[in-house]
Every structure is written in C-alpha cells, then in structure tokens.
Amino acid sequence: MPVRFLRNASEIADVSWETPLPVQVANAKPVPADTLLVATTTVDTTANRDLLGSTSTELPTLDGCMQYRKLVWFYFRASADATNYRVLARATDHNGAPLGTGWQEIVPATTLPGGANTHNRIDIPASSDGYYDQYRIEVQRTAGSNYNLISKIVGVR
C-alpha cells in the first residue's frame, strides 16, 4: 500500500519522488553539521600532544567553535595499545584572544575507547552543551608501540 498524504486540503497524493511528503517547520531552518578537522596523529608517549601533533599547550586544536552545541569526534585507531585522551576548552574575547591563560579541563585523562582497527566516537561534551570557542584534544599512549589515529571532528549546532 503506497504512502499517501493530503495535499491542498482536498487532494490525496501518493508519495513519490515527484511529490515528496511535505516537511516544513515554519520560521525555522535546519541545523547543519560542519566537518572541522580531519587529521592523522601518531600516538606516542609524549605528554600534551594534541591531534595536530603539537605539544604547545597554549595552542588550540580547534578554534571558532562557539556556534557548536557539541563536537563529535570520530576516530579510527590502528592499535589497541593503552591510550589516554583529555579534552580542554576555553572561551575567547571578541579578538579571539583567550579570556585568560590555561584551559578548563572538560574531560580529564581518560582511557581512549576501542580496540585495534575499529571505528569509534566520542561526543564532546558527553552531556550538556559545549559552545566553547577553543578546544584542545590531547592523546598519549601509556603502553605498547606508536600507532596511527585517524580523526574526524564534526561540529553540530
């Protein structure tokens, strides 16, 4: 039985490619998701290394993120060797300068989930909303050998 809908108040139409279901929310626009970063990181034992490979602790991994309610971090890890990650965040002023030195640690050092050669996902923040201007995502291996971590971060409004 085809799916039908009422069109123009008196006409029943079949749903098809030519007459799709009318989906509309008045005075609203859709919430897009933006790809913010795609990077490959060599995960080693160096502390404070972010996804872009930088150990400069004042540099953000992502900037201009105020409009995003949350970030979704997709990653594919080539090894299951024990790894920690942590997420830092902060706000900036109108000029893009941080309000102060340092960061707010929104995720402390935590075991990076997933086995070898698996796709995984972490929501940042895991609950509540983000809206920070800058994020710094650090990874550090605590056992085993270096491996590649391929990441993609999507910002969701």
Partner: protein
C-alpha cells in the same frame, strides 16, 4: 504520481489507517508506525528520505539495497542528521521475523572511510503479524555512512524507506 480530487466527506469515508503491529526489541527500539504514515509533517525536525525500495530478504545478511558486499554503504552523506528511522512492512501472508543490524562509519574529505570495517550501532528483530508496519529508530546520528542489513530465515520481500531527521532552530 497519481492524485484525485475528493470532498472532505468522501476523504473521511476513505481514510485508511494501516494496521499496527508490535515488534520485539533488542538493542534498537522498534515502534508502531501507522499514525506516522498519515501525518503530512514530521515536526519538529527536518526530515529527508535517504532511500526507498524493496529488499528481498533471505538467509544472508544483505544491505537494504540487496548487496552482500560488506564495504558498501546503504546510505551516504548522512553527517547532518542526528537520527535515522527505518520504516516499512513485509509483503506476504506469513508472520514476519526479520533480523536487522546497523553499521556506521566516518569518511574523510575525499569520501574515503577513516579505516576498514564499520562500527556496530545496534540490531533489532522485526516480529509482527503479516502486513504490519514497523519502524526502527537509529538514535546515533552524524556518522557519514550507514549500512543497514537484514536477514530472514524465510525469504521475504520488505518494502521500506530510510528517513533521516535534522535538528532545527527557530529563526
């Protein structure tokens, strides 16, 4: 496309609500779908139809598109959507017992998957009387590609569509 003009009185006489069936839940929630088929709006989210068609289910895990090639996605370009729905019904007069599972992965700027394989999102069993609508909600959104596979011990033809919804904000 077919359309016909009728009066409101005639419309009320001819209004048909599809019979509703229950489904067994495993990790994905399966819901009754009859009311949704007659609603013109899926408020409050924007909704897109990603795929619609018929799938011949058999004892192999097949994508909704019919292939058994594990690397091929069922739907792509799904990054903006925060949840997906699979809704449809199985043709035939026998009770329905169709297993389904959902995989997902992310891709880079060139559309190449970040790595091999998929991430398992969940699975469900569609167990209804014959000719009942079902709906499965896939709550984990924003992956770039999904592969939705089905399997049935008794060959069945399933007519279904994959719908994705986006959040929205008021202007």
């Amino acid at each position: 496309m077919s359309a016909e003009r009728i009066t409101r009185r005639e419309m009320l006489k001819r209004l048909v609500i599809a019979p509703v069936g229950a489904a067994v839940l495993t990790t994905l929630e399966v819901r009754q779908a009859s009311a949704a088929t007659m609603q013109p709006y899926y408020a409050p989210y924007f909704v897109a139809v990603l795929w619609e068609g018929r799938t011949r289910c058999d004892s192999l895990w097949r994508s909704l598109k019919g292939d058994v090639v594990p690397v091929l996605p069922t739907v792509q370009g799904t990054t903006p959507y925060d949840r997906l729905y699979w809704t449809g019904y199985a043709l035939g007069s026998a009770p329905v017992n169709v297993a389904m599972r959902v995989w997902a992965r992310a891709v880079d700027h060139n559309g190449v998957p970040l790595g091999s394989g998929w991430r398992a999102i969940g699975q469900a069993a569609i167990q209804t009387p014959p000719l009942r609508w079902f709906r499965v909600e896939i709550p984990e959104g924003h992956w770039d590609e999904y592969r939705i596979e089905v399997r049935s011990a008794i060959p069945r033809l399933v007519y279904s569509r994959v719908i994705a919804s986006q959040g929205y904000w008021k202007e």
